[in-house]
């Protein structure tokens, strides 16, 4: 097939056949990918988006992983990427959750209707059995017209059989009516392939415009026919033996009922704080950043580089100066960010794999509605307490541009990242409960007011919550660790270069005297309006680079309790760090990012001043 999609821009070997893994979210797709590709895996950014696609080799094939989707169409960025990759596939391995056949076989049938060679992995057979579901696999093979291999991927069951059967993938039985088949053939005269034609028939404008055609409007008719066929197949092959609800179901229901769900959520958040905010941010980072990076690595690299480059030259400053690419940048990324981000991804992977995350989203949906968001936004918000940069990347899962803007603004404004939280906690604890409460209430009020305000003034409508709640399962440590490793690695690869660029920029600003100039200009304002000593300016300037630098800069100053409180509020609301800013520019464009940046300046100083007036 001639590849007319952006896929050729991802660097993969075009001469090999492409095996594409396809499945609904939470069907265990990544385990299949890891099994097939084993060690050789590369990750490419998908052109025009911020999504990453993993690819690897298996026998003579190239294997591509895709985002989990419920169907092939163009409802959001993930679906568009998935669609392009599906279209380019030579063979599709469709992973199906045996417990959710009605839902998953819809995608299967759509892939078959696209005239692709398909093989189905019927995964989670153990769970289907324990729920008393009996599936007639031979009948399913006959109905679909393709191979079906039962698997329990987490226990490696059936995977060898699956990989041996990939070569037998074939085109299956379509669900299209004779009339639609005729129309399809008509379009295929122009497109020369049935997969593109089907999507045009189903109203996909992106695919249609690619062939200079108009999208047609038979989606509902085709979908209804497909849905009916799938329901009939499932009725044919599935026998239910009544069993009591599993323990997982009971836990799932407890997590969802507000009376039990909210206390459980609070306990889990407390553990999260203890794990990330105390153990990782203080104990672990104390070792990785202070002892290893600053104590051992930095002297070594400075010593090494200064043999070749003078420390006082501009190049010397850029490489090994205060904000050097080889000194501060490396320390920051590996000594501070990596432990925090890995810790957070580890915790998040547990929440995801256990099926808890969507339940949290349902619990907090109502509250987030006031801010123009829906429950799904809890994921970037939670991540923000780990690292705002990482959280900003995650806002891509939100349903509309409007929601992304609100979420990114709130993240940049009022969510202190864990690097900063540690320092803030250290400074505020000695002041006593009263100051702590004022601090929390102020930050929370700013968050709520800013969200409500944006929800009022931004045009358009936010999307409503519509999510599938996966069953509650016990997560497997191996999968959690693998996920943590991969996600941390991609994050470092993505944020690392951005942060290095920021560090170079700051060095140049400083050497050019611009940093000093800003410091002098804002000093009167700091003293007059915020009632803080002039030296705090330097801490705020540092906060532009690294938020925890700002907070840590306050440590060395002799401040009264009131001054400490005001300066902490200002530093929390203050601009996101350089890395977060650059990611915001990448995600939202320069104009949006600049608005967040200026908005944070304004909010930080306005609120700081008001608090200074009243205490």
């Amino acid at each position: 097939m001639q590849s007319c999609h952006k896929l050729d821009e991802i660097n993969i070997d075009e001469s090999k056949e492409k095996v594409v893994l396809v499945g609904n979210p939470n069907v265990g797709k990544s385990i299949f990918f890891n099994y097939l590709t084993d060690s050789y895996v590369s990750v490419s950014n998908y052109p025009g988006t911020t999504l990453d696609i993993s690819s690897g080799e298996f026998k003579d094939y190239i294997v591509l992983d895709t985002p989990g989707v419920y169907g092939v169409s163009s409802f959001n960025d993930e679906e568009k990427v998935a669609r392009d990759i599906f279209l380019s596939a030579d063979i599709i391995v469709n992973i199906v959750d045996a417990v959710h056949l009605e839902r998953d076989l819809f995608l299967t049938q759509q892939l078959i209707d696209m005239d692709k060679k398909v093989i189905v992995a019927l995964n989670m057979m153990d769970e289907a059995r324990s729920r008393g579901l009996e599936i007639d696999i031979e009948q399913l093979k006959d109905d679909l017209g393709v191979e079906v291999i039962p698997t329990v991927a987490v226990d490696n069951e059936g995977l060898a059989m699956l990989s041996d059967t990939i070569k037998n993938a074939k085109k299956g039985n379509k669900s299209l009516s004779p009339e639609m088949k005729e129309r399809l053939e008509d379009i295929s005269k122009k497109t020369e392939n049935n997969a593109d034609s089907l999507l045009i028939l189903e109203g996909d404008q992106y695919v249609a415009s690619h062939f200079n055609l108009e999208a047609l409007d038979f989606r509902e008719e085709i979908y209804n026919k497909r849905r009916n066929r799938v329901n009939n197949i499932v009725g044919n092959i599935l026998t239910k033996v009544e069993k009591n609800n599993s323990i997982g179901d009971k836990i799932g229901s407890l997590l969802l009922k507000p009376l039990t769900g909210i206390p459980i959520l609070l306990v889990i958040l407390y553990f999260l704080y203890q794990f990330i905010g105390v153990f990782v941010a203080q104990t672990l980072v104390g070792i990785t950043e202070e002892t290893i990076m600053i104590g051992m690595y930095e002297p070594f690299i400075i010593d090494l580089v200064s043999n070749f480059v003078s420390t006082n030259s501009i190049l010397g400053k850029i490489l090994i100066g205060e904000f050097g690419v080889l000194t501060m940048t490396v320390t920051y990324i590996f000594g501070l960010l990596l432990p925090l981000v890995a810790g957070f991804y580890f915790f998040l992977a547990i929440l995801e794999d256990s099926g808890y995350m969507p339940r949290i989203a349902a619990l907090v949906d109502r509250g987030l509605n006031y801010l123009g968001l829906n429950g799904r936004a809890i994921i970037p918000m939670l991540l923000g307490f780990g690292c705002v940069t990482m959280a900003t990347v995650t806002t891509r899962l939100l349903g509309s541009k409007r929601e992304k803007i609100i979420a990114i603004f709130l993240l940049g404004l009022a969510i202190p990242c864990s690097a900063q939280l540690g320092v803030i906690a250290g400074l505020i604890a000695p002041l006593g409960l009263k100051y702590f409460i004022i601090y929390v209430i102020t930050i929370f009020a700013v968050y709520a007011i800013a969200g409500t305000f944006l929800n009022k003034v931004l045009p358009g409508k936010s999307t409503d919550l519509l999510i599938d709640l996966p069953p509650v399962r016990l997560p497997r440590l191996k999968n959690i660790l693998r996920k943590t490793y991969l996600k941390s690695k991609y994050f470092i690869l993505e944020a690392g270069p951005i942060f290095a660029m920021g560090a170079v920029g700051i060095t140049l600003l400083k050497e050019g005297g611009i940093l000093y100039w800003i410091q002098e200009k804002v000093a009167p304002f700091i003293v007059g309006w915020l009632k803080l000593p002039k030296e705090t300016t330097e801490a705020f300037i540092m906060g532009i680079i690294r938020r925890d630098f700002g907070a840590a800069g306050l440590n060395s100053l002799a401040l009264t309790s009131d001054q400490t409180l005001v300066s902490l509020i200002v530093i929390t609301l203050f601009v996101p760090c350089i890395a977060a800013m650059l990611v915001m520019i990448k995600e939202q464009g320069f104009k949006q990012a600049l608005m967040v940046w200026l908005g944070s300046w304004f909010a930080a100083f306005a609120v700081g001043g008001i608090v200074a007036l009243f205490i």
Binding site: G71, R219, L363, D365, N369, G375, D464, L466, I467
Partner: protein, 77 residues
Amino acid sequence: MTLADIKRGKDFKIKNIPDDMIRIQTLRMGISEGSKLNCNEKIPGGPVIVKHNYQEIAIGRRLAEDIQIELFTEGSD
């Protein structure tokens, strides 16, 4: 009545999902007009959780208000 009016534990049938995009999305998840569902949980002021075979779906309250349903078995209303 709408999905927002359902009581926890009741069985019902979907009559009408007016929004095209939502109708397509639910269709893909396995729910179409005419599907028989059960209201598994209702979070006060928040989403309605419906159950279809072994699948649970959380539907935001505003969206639930737009979905027309009828009770499936005649119980105390």
